[in-house]
């Protein structure tokens, strides 16, 4: 049975007690866990340290990481299990992206790209335009 791959959005919060190095390691470990379960990480966006709206395990702050990946559906329970065991992760949220979410994600990415473009040369702008018309 060939399991079809889905797009997933995954957000998690790392404990603030870790050093920068340890945070980096944790991020790497999560990415590795995804890859080893047959997934492919598409984008990792670290939001950095933020204040939590309420205490979690007596912590006021948390280091947020938001990432997107592609994986077969049956790998998710294994992945969440390894996340659950990890004491450095306070919270996580896995979402399977439906069509609307993917469109929303692509739009957001495009907007970010458009905002970044102005400084660069004409050549790159032209490529952006062709992508948009496709």
């Amino acid at each position: 049975m060939a399991a079809t791959k889905n797009m997933y959005e995954f957000t998690y919060i790392i404990t603030p007690v870790l050093s920068e190095e340890q945070i980096k390691e944790t991020v790497k470990r999560v990415n590795k866990a995804i890859e080893s379960n047959g997934g492919k990480v598409i984008e990792v966006e670290e939001w950095g340290s933020r204040r939590l709206a309420y205490l979690i395990n007596k912590k006021r702050n948390g280091y947020y990481v938001n990432l997107y990946f592609e994986a077969p559906g049956d790998s998710i329970p294994r992945l969440t299990r390894s996340i659950e065991i990890d004491d450095n992760i306070l919270r996580y949220l896995t979402l399977r992206m439906d069509k609307k979410m993917i469109q929303h994600y692509e739009l957001r990415k495009q907007k970010a790209a458009d905002a970044a473009v102005p400084d660069t040369t004409v050549e790159t702008e032209a490529t952006v335009e062709t992508e948009a018309t496709e």
């Binding site: 957000t11 919060i13 933020r50 939590l52 709206a53 309420y54 979690i56 948390g62 947020y64 938001n66 919270r91 949220l93 979402l95 609307k100 979410m101 469109q103 929303h104 739009l107």
Partner: protein
């Protein structure tokens, strides 16, 4: 406000803030004037944001 494709993003806390009161409760449809479809999306987004401590479950202000 152009919110693309009726997907309400839980990451956009600033936007979601408009749909909760100072206690952190989700405002009813009669106050927010949104369509049923959008209200459901908002509710889901707020609940997701709460889970990730981006929004409070309860904001204690009044007593």
């Amino acid at each position: 406000m152009a919110k693309d494709l009726n997907y309400v993003d839980y990451k956009d806390t600033e936007y979601l803030q408009r749909f909760i009161n100072e206690q952190g409760k989700i405002l009813p449809r009669r106050v927010t004037n949104t369509s049923a479809k959008t209200q459901r999306q908002i509710t889901r987004a707020v609940k997701r944001a709460r889970h990730l401590a981006m929004l409070p479950y309860v904001a204690d202000s009044v007593r």
